[in-house]
Symmetry: D2
Subunit: 344 residues, 4 copies
Amino acid sequence: MTIKIGVIGTGAIGREHIDRIENILSGGEVKAVTDVNQESAYKAVKDYNLDATVYPDDVALVGDPNIDAVFVTSWGPAHEQSVLLAIEAGKYVFCEKPLATSAEGCMRIVDAEQKQGKRLVQVGFMRRYDEGYVQLKEALDNNEIGDPLMIHCSHRNPGVDENYKTNMAVTETLIHEIDALHWLIDDNYESVRVDFPRKTKHSHAELQDPQVFTLKTQGGVLIHAEVFVNCKYGYDIQCEVMGEEGIAKLPEVASVVVRKESKLSSNILNDWKIRFMDAYNKELQNFLDSVEKYGEPQGPTSWDGYIAAVTADACLQAQETGEEVDIKLQDTPDFYKKQVAVRN
Amino acid sequence: MTIKIGVIGTGAIGREHIDRIENILSGGEVKAVTDVNQESAYKAVKDYNLDATVYPDDVALVGDPNIDAVFVTSWGPAHEQSVLLAIEAGKYVFCEKPLATSAEGCMRIVDAEQKQGKRLVQVGFMRRYDEGYVQLKEALDNNEIGDPLMIHCSHRNPGVDENYKTNMAVTETLIHEIDALHWLIDDNYESVRVDFPRKTKHSHAELQDPQVFTLKTQGGVLIHAEVFVNCKYGYDIQCEVMGEEGIAKLPEVASVVVRKESKLSSNILNDWKIRFMDAYNKELQNFLDSVEKYGEPQGPTSWDGYIAAVTADACLQAQETGEEVDIKLQDTPDFYKKQVAVRN
Amino acid sequence: MTIKIGVIGTGAIGREHIDRIENILSGGEVKAVTDVNQESAYKAVKDYNLDATVYPDDVALVGDPNIDAVFVTSWGPAHEQSVLLAIEAGKYVFCEKPLATSAEGCMRIVDAEQKQGKRLVQVGFMRRYDEGYVQLKEALDNNEIGDPLMIHCSHRNPGVDENYKTNMAVTETLIHEIDALHWLIDDNYESVRVDFPRKTKHSHAELQDPQVFTLKTQGGVLIHAEVFVNCKYGYDIQCEVMGEEGIAKLPEVASVVVRKESKLSSNILNDWKIRFMDAYNKELQNFLDSVEKYGEPQGPTSWDGYIAAVTADACLQAQETGEEVDIKLQDTPDFYKKQVAVRN
Amino acid sequence: MTIKIGVIGTGAIGREHIDRIENILSGGEVKAVTDVNQESAYKAVKDYNLDATVYPDDVALVGDPNIDAVFVTSWGPAHEQSVLLAIEAGKYVFCEKPLATSAEGCMRIVDAEQKQGKRLVQVGFMRRYDEGYVQLKEALDNNEIGDPLMIHCSHRNPGVDENYKTNMAVTETLIHEIDALHWLIDDNYESVRVDFPRKTKHSHAELQDPQVFTLKTQGGVLIHAEVFVNCKYGYDIQCEVMGEEGIAKLPEVASVVVRKESKLSSNILNDWKIRFMDAYNKELQNFLDSVEKYGEPQGPTSWDGYIAAVTADACLQAQETGEEVDIKLQDTPDFYKKQVAVRN
Ligand SMILES: [Mg+2]
Ligand SMILES: [Mg+2]
Ligand SMILES: [Mg+2]
Ligand SMILES: [Mg+2]
């Protein structure tokens, strides 16, 4: 069976997902598109040679009875409405981050989904599909290093432009660690504090860079998460978990090893898209396969979207106040407690 | 457009390719199958839920006017006939190694393909699609280490069963290096010699293991290729090229790095299928994409199949005689000289 | 010329230094020893076959006109008096940490030394002589990674016994980082805070383990220094400096690389003495050579001892209060500003 | 006790050893020197501030009853006579390679030493004292990788001048592998063959570079030893042993790891003296300690010098003839069979 997909939002990320579905992955077909910019929607149909209807808006697209699943790849503030529409229509949803721009919005989605009685929504946190993170998760789940005590991780970009402000270190960058780390250790955040080292000269007026977030979990795990988006040298994602019996660390990205000019070296990537290309593909393929095979997606849930929203809000407050800020999460509903293995 | 595929041979490798086409890759559909064991063909249709005709033999399958491309995944001795049939019908062919069981057979295919005036055939040497080899090739093509002088490579399996005899070190194992190395350095083999170290106690009566092949190229490159199929510790593919300015080496397979019990360690794979899973997928996706986009496959050609056949024969003779054996290749036809980039 | 040495304190570390001077290094000779336990002093003379006088106390030993340099390797609280005696006698001093047990004591030594008009004292912080730290220092001094912004370091022991209490994480363990880090980045500490992750089950009642110290410098460098003395897996010293242009990290201890049983592994040490054996040797050889060649030691100064004392006190206060504690250092006297290269 | 040393040959290596004995190591003192160039001998005394007699020749120096041990660091052709003189006088000898310039010369030394009834001679093969080789030897001796089957090693220099001819690849370069490898695997060489890849453009008219020597041992171990003395990129010593259960490899030289400009890199040395500085020191310290402690040196013996001479001759013949050449070693005398541990 081929899953018929409607795409809401045909900007950059929407087009990439269309390309994946049509030209790389198996089991999905884009049959409907919409965008606030209708030109963009028509252009996507043409560029990707789609056999798809262009709808005026998300209401119309979701209403198409031929559509099995909706991809929400629009502007962040528009996500909540589209996701709620899809849930109410009983359709599967793959929603790019953020699930909603507020914790309350996420909670409305969580409530709506529970009313439908089964998981419909997957949030686009692709790290969980990265081979390195998958291995790290397995090492932890297999108790290879004992119970976790500390995590040290870094999210580094070679540079960002002037539109990137201090708060985006949370909403655009740390947000990936926020999702990945609680999943890795199966624990909930309790508080966060931010330290600002001296600003790198490669940053600009409205961006404090680097920043280090100190997160504590309910289980007592201490996390240092560095965000450094003008690190110059490359795009580099590091994550190391210290456990009671040992330590496990993400592997370096595999790269040919060269001996030349008195150096033993390998390449560091500069582009996050290349770094996580396989993860993006696996993320979507897993969404398609899970819907087909199990009747529900297996990836990050609406609840994960809610956790990300609450935690990001606390991180933003910590940036502003300089204080340690509590992260107040509601209890996880049983509905979202079921552990789901994402590996095929 | 979806490429309609007929699969000749529904054994293990045939089934894997069917699974890839149907469930992982994009742009192909299996519409016909055949196997000398008709039960097996019917079973494949059922197991993979194919919308495909079962034909009694390759002649009938190739004759189906709806079929665009033929996958030859049957028993080695049957390859030549199926490939020739497909070429004569003007159809694309993806043929697993060997292209034919003799140099003469390969040459008949080469001649037939040239008569058709365009490349139709891709041989299933997947190493060229492995990310590590792709990077190594790029390093060489970008002259990062200067002109190559020596190669040292190893092909190690944890173990093999009693059906694996001394000659299979060439036909089943070294054959991958034979294809990959001449492609890497864009050079032709000239001679080969074999050295047999003391046999490991983990081998059996009819298998000399390990073996080291010393190949020399027309350009003067000296290659040591170790085959060690009872190395116990894992499945491990190593390749290092020494050039005039530096050295480049395949990366280790990325794996979580663990500190535990006084060891800093990462995992070594045991399974060649996992090692080259991505390469297999890329190999077939590239075949489908190239046929679709360029009207001809871009991967290893019939001529590469011929080179492999001639070189493997010389390696077998070197095993038997203990002497240095000449590798006598005919001149490369212009038809096969066109360099084709395989990366998307 | 051979430097004639008097050793005050013939316990474990005193005996090790005697062994180094007599059997490993060049240019020194132990000619006098003393210990509060006179038996121990006589035993050292006998065990190491010394041609040395046993004195009843430090006053007598320092008074021996044949002695050029005094090694203070006694119980910490006794250090200050012995060092002051030696300085007043115009003799060189190699003093194991701590220089004195209080900042005031260190300041008395600093004052006494300045009155003598030349550097006489070297404090036993051996990290600066470790090949890895030397390389890291060179990388920073050569501006290879630009100005430093952050440091992440770890000091891990496989285990400690019940005598090791929470405060000893500062006085016995972190003390080495305290000295090494300000030297590395040529900066002064400004504040410190401690975070306590969940205690590892391998710790005991009176030891909070692990601990993470967050230090900030006057230059704005943010330091996370992890102390984890029941990490189980080995003795492991990590230090990574993030600069404006790149990152530099201590190398792993060189160890044979083994492929075996599906693991690629190298050994991690368990014993800090092996880890820093070369550093200890170089430290003392450099002391002897510098005194001989330049008429003053080149290693860590009394001022470094003072910095360590003030910083350690703040760290202890941070452990107790849970607050961020200021580190109030007096201005560095010109006398101690002269940069001295320690490499031969 | 201090060992009183006479040095025969005050050229570069002689002066370095004098510096070690006087300024770095413990337990030795240079009390006599000689050189065919008497100026050079006097200069050494002055430069190193020695309390030593200058003798007109080796006969006179060896005759000095105060001398315990003789260092032979003269021109290679002069070694045999000096070593024989010292043996006949019952004195210890540390002789730089070669022990003698012919197998017959080595045998005369072996015979003379046996007549004296105890080991007096140590040959200056310092690799055995390198920490990496020591670890590799331990791994093999502890059976960590099972019985050895193959060795792959490389000896690479960044460049050599025009005085370095093809044969020096054996006598100056491979000679270190010749000694180290048979020691590592405790086996004897049986034959050797040489392959010449295309010559690097960085070589010169009278030097074939690189070269690969294929050695076989009596135990069936196959060795590929690459000599590449214009490799451009650095001084690099590699050695990997493939055993029945796994593989062990020399570690890379520890070096700070830098992330910068899209590269993850560490430094490769260019200078063999830095590479083996510790090994040289340990070699001589072990000679001094062993003579003092055990009354005989524990390092490479005269018999090892003989093995090196015979093997090097066969390698030279293999270079000239292009054939596989037998390495005909006499049976090891019982006198030299005693295994001696060199680690302190
Ligand atoms: Mg995403
Ligand atoms: Mg294949
Ligand atoms: Mg010390
Ligand atoms: Mg030597």
